[in-house]
Amino acid sequence: MHTILIVEDEQILREAYRQILTHEGYKVAMAHNGKVALVELEKHKPDLILLDMLMPEMDGLQFLKAARLTVLYPKVKVIAFSNLSDQQKLDELKILGVTDNILKSSLSPKQLANTCKNLLK
């Protein structure tokens, strides 16, 4: 069973993702900012992280830099939820271990589930 870490400051979305992914049969861990996410990462060693980029306390970018995923968790997949259109920043994210960048409003629950499923094959 795969573990997915949901990092999202918006409680309503966090809860929606949890329901969808639990419903799809994943083990789900959650964090509402980057700092908490670092603790949960250590604790659960997830296979996939759904990472919101815009967050208070510690945002997605700061979390990625602190987590040093490519070194410490080379196998972990990361879906970044952002509306970044700046390609340079997107490239930077990839270097920091981000697998895919998705505009979170573009995905329906089923599409989200399918995306996760494809990445964890």
């Binding site: 979305l13 929606a16 419903h23 259109s85 390609q87 629950p109």
Partner: protein, 786 residues
């Protein structure tokens, strides 16, 4: 016998009568009659000097008449009878020696010889003597004689002799020869000195013809002309000419002459001649020393001259002839010079010279001369006459200078002055010009128009009448001060306009200088202050408005920025709840919450679609905010457009199928590469193709055409939709534009799609245009340079 006695008696009578007659004659005679006796007869064989000595020793007056006594200032003959010869004659006087010697040598018979004696008062007396001596046995015993007083005559003679001698000595000293010509008889009398001057011997004879021949050929005509002129007008002439001596040597002479007329006809001519070789030599010598001067004169285009004020005489000059176009051999006289002066300047020149001659003051004149080649040249003449104590000019010296260049410059200056006036007359301000003497020399036409006065009314001091009486003192003071100190000034005062109204004017005067730095006076301009004031006011108002606009613009820019920020922020904030809605409705629709009936699904689907549209609008707003903030950086790489377009059409194929629309993609090559940002360009194409589908009615066709040329890639998306009204075309690519058409309310949209698409294409340095016909369809053309 008796006859003999009678005869004797008659002789005696005759003798007695004769004696009486003699006594009467002696007594009544005006002449002195005397008889000298000697105490001791003088041997006539002795030398005259010896005899004379003995005469003074032994001769005494034995008999005389009263007339003689009177000659010696005495009343009676008794006072002189018995007097010795030495009492009468001055023994040492050479004339007396001559007199007595002549008496002896003439064998004691002498007449008409003068003696020099003294009267009783000691006065000099001259007597003319006739005397006879009586010689007996080789000895002079007595002498009879008469004498007349010639003292007065002698004095006249002596005075005459003295003056003649003085004259001849003076003439000799001045080497002046005299001549006299009797025109009627043709007899010509020359003094010795004159012959000397002409190199002739005293014995040589002279005629007028010979005289003419002796004159140097080059001067001959001139001399003859001068003589003939005098023979006509009886006036004195003076002329310098050369004479050729019999030994062929050439000598300079100054001749002077005058004819005496009778009934207008010449009867006699008298004249003098003087040798002037020395002076001429001096001139030649001074010429040599003046070579350097000549050079200097040449290099400065200058000449100099000196005239001795003799009519017709040659004027000495240096460099002058060259300046005035005369040949060096030509004789320069005032008359010959006058001929070369430009006819228009002749009178002025003569007037000027006459004035200089009368005043003795230096003069300066500019005039023109005409060269033999007809060319006209400007000359600057300066000179001065020197006067004798009677105020008559005896000498005149001067310099001449060619001033063609300066005149040319002056003409240029005049032309430039004309240009200035031309310009000044068209200037929108009043302009005046004044000389260093504070006199106004010029007002431009606008000034004349303003004051309504004639130029000549305002020139000089006339302008004062234009100034307001209350301001005049200040104006004059400030203006005079500016001229004196050669400083600029600015002053506001009232000037009378042509309608009599006084207007406030601002006058600015500045000093002006010649290129050489010479102060030329002031030049100034006036502007109506009232006009300036209103102009200033208008300008100030405009500046205020401008400032206001600028402030507003900045405000708007700031506002726009904060608006962009606001849109960005708002979109983010809006998106999260909309995404929440999407997730939960999505979960219901996708069965996460259990099975739903048809109505439930329909209702939730409508909510889901509505939420989707909201999300799209939010996305569009964010995209536009990004593009407007300049935050979009293209990430270009080589992309196959055929594939890209295929994918976009494919993605939307469901929609087309749903509306029963057909799509056609025309492209010649299998692959068409272009360097673009594939993500952004995909969104542009999605937008355009989506629009085409939206605005095209069901069952119609959408055609996409891709053409690649050497310069660009051209992509056309054509639909058969409602089309766009012509008046709406310009607004099409503006923000928040939604063209009104029957379908717009149905299709919805943010009104930002085309705006953003145009921005993206522009970032590719391409263009997006539209051609449309209402109810026929639209055609969007994207051109991207390769």
């Amino acid at each position: 016998m008796k006859q003999g006695e009678d005869k004797r008696s008659s002789i005696e009578q005759q003798l007695r009568a004769s004696d009486e007659r003699y006594q009467a004659f002696i007594k009544n005679s005006n002449e002195g009659i005397w008889r000298f006796e000697v105490n001791k007869p003088i041997l006539t064989k002795l030398k005259p000097a010896e005899q004379i000595k003995l005469m003074y020793k032994y001769a005494y007056l034995a008999e005389a008449n009263d007339a003689m006594a009177k000659m010696y200032g005495l009343s009676s003959v008794d006072d002189i009878v018995g007097a010795r010869l030495g009492d009468f004659l001055i023994e040492e006087d050479p004339e007396n020696i001559d007199y007595l010697t002549a008496f002896i040598k003439s064998k004691y018979r002498l007449s008409g010889v003068d003696s020099h004696e003294k009267d009783s008062q000691g006065n000099d007396k001259y007597f003319r003597n006739s005397l006879v001596g009586v010689v007996e046995k080789g000895h002079l015993v007595r002498a009879w004689g008469t004498q007349s007083d010639v003292t007065e005559q002698r004095k006249i003679d002596m005075a005459l002799a003295n003056s003649e001698e003085r004259l001849s000595r003076a003439l000799e000293a001045s080497q002046t020869g005299l001549w006299e010509w009797d025109v009627k008889t043709g007899k010509l009398m020359w003094s010795r000195q004159l012959k000397k001057i002409f190199g002739l011997k005293p014995s040589d004879k002279i005629t007028y013809e010979k005289y003419q021949k002796m004159i140097h050929p080059q001067d001959r005509e001139r001399v003859i002309a001068a003589i003939q002129k005098s023979m006509q007008d009886g006036k004195n002439y003076v002329i310098e000419h050369r004479v050729i001596w019999p030994d062929k040597s050439v000598h300079w002479t100054q001749g002077q002459g005058q004819a005496y007329l009778e009934d207008g006809k010449p009867i006699r001519m008298i004249g003098t001649s003087m040798n002037i070789d020395k002076r001429k030599d001096a001139e030649i010598q001074s010429r040599a020393t003046e070579e350097r001067l000549t050079l200097a004169l040449k290099s400065t285009n200058m000449g100099t001259w000196e005239s001795r004020m003799i009519p017709g005489a040659e004027i000495w000059s240096k460099g002058l002839k060259q300046l005035v176009g005369m040949k060096p051999t030509e004789i320069l006289t005032r008359e010959s010079f006058l001929n070369i002066i430009h006819p228009d300047d002749k009178d002025r020149w003569l007037k000027n010279i006459k004035k200089a001659e009368n005043s003795g003051k230096p003069y300066t004149i500019e005039y023109r001369v005409v060269w033999p080649d007809g060319s006209v040249h400007w000359i600057l003449g300066q000179g001065q006459a020197y006067l004798d104590k009677n105020g008559k000019a005896i000498r005149m010296v001067g310099t001449t200078m060619n001033i063609d260049d300066r005149k040319k410059y002056e003409i240029e200056v005049q032309e430039s002055e004309a240009r200035f006036r031309n310009m000044a007359d068209t200037a929108p301000v009043l302009i005046w010009v004044a000389g260093p003497d504070k006199q106004l020399t010029y007002f431009n036409k606008p000034w004349q128009d303003f004051t309504g006065r004639k130029l000549e009314d305002d020139l000089g001091e006339g302008w004062r009448e234009d100034i307001h009486p209350d301001d005049l003192d200040t104006v004059v003071k400030v203006y005079y001060d500016a001229v004196d100190k050669r400083k600029p000034y600015t002053l506001e005062y009232r000037v009378r306009r042509h309608d009599g109204q006084y207007r406030w004017m601002l006058d600015k005067g500045v000093p002006r200088y010649s290129p050489d730095g010479e102060f030329l006076g002031l030049i100034g301009s006036l502007i109506e202050t009232e006009e300036i004031k209103s102009t200033r006011k208008r300008r100030d108002e405009l500046e205020k408005i401008n400032q206001k606009l600028e402030d507003q613009r900045r405000e708007l820019v700031a506002l726009n920025q904060s608006k962009d920020e606001f849109i960005s922020l708002a979109s983010h904030q809006l998106r999260t709840p909309a995404t929440g809605v999407k997730q939960y409705i999505g979960m219901l629709l996708e069965g996460y919450g259990g099975k739903l009936n048809k109505d439930q699904i329909h209702m939730l689907s409508t909510a889901y679609d509505s939420n989707e549209r909201q999300l799209n609008i939010i996305d569009d707003l964010l995209k536009v905010a990004h593009v407007d903030a300049g935050k979009v950086a293209l990430r270009k790489h080589k992309t196959d457009l055929v594939r890209l377009i295929d994918e976009v059409i494919d993605e939307q194929s469901d929609k087309f199928r749903h509306k029963n629309q057909t799509t056609v993609f025309n492209h010649k090559s299998k692959r068409v590469f272009a360097t673009i940002d594939p993500e952004r360009m995909r969104m542009v194409l999605e937008n355009l193709i989506d629009n085409a589908g939206k605005y095209t009615p069901e069952g119609k066709k959408i055609t996409v055409t891709l053409v690649k040329t050497t310069k660009e890639v051209r992509l056309t998306i054509a639909d058969q939709g409602v089309g766009i009204a012509k008046r709406d075309l310009p607004k099409l690519f503006q923000k928040f534009t939604r063209v009104s058409n029957p379908l717009s309310t149905v299709v919805g949209g943010s009104g930002l799609g085309l705006y953003w698409a145009e921005k993206i294409v522009s970032l590719h340095k391409g263009s997006i245009t539209v051609e449309s016909k209402l109810h026929k369809g639209s055609k969007f053309i994207i051109k991207i340079p390769i």
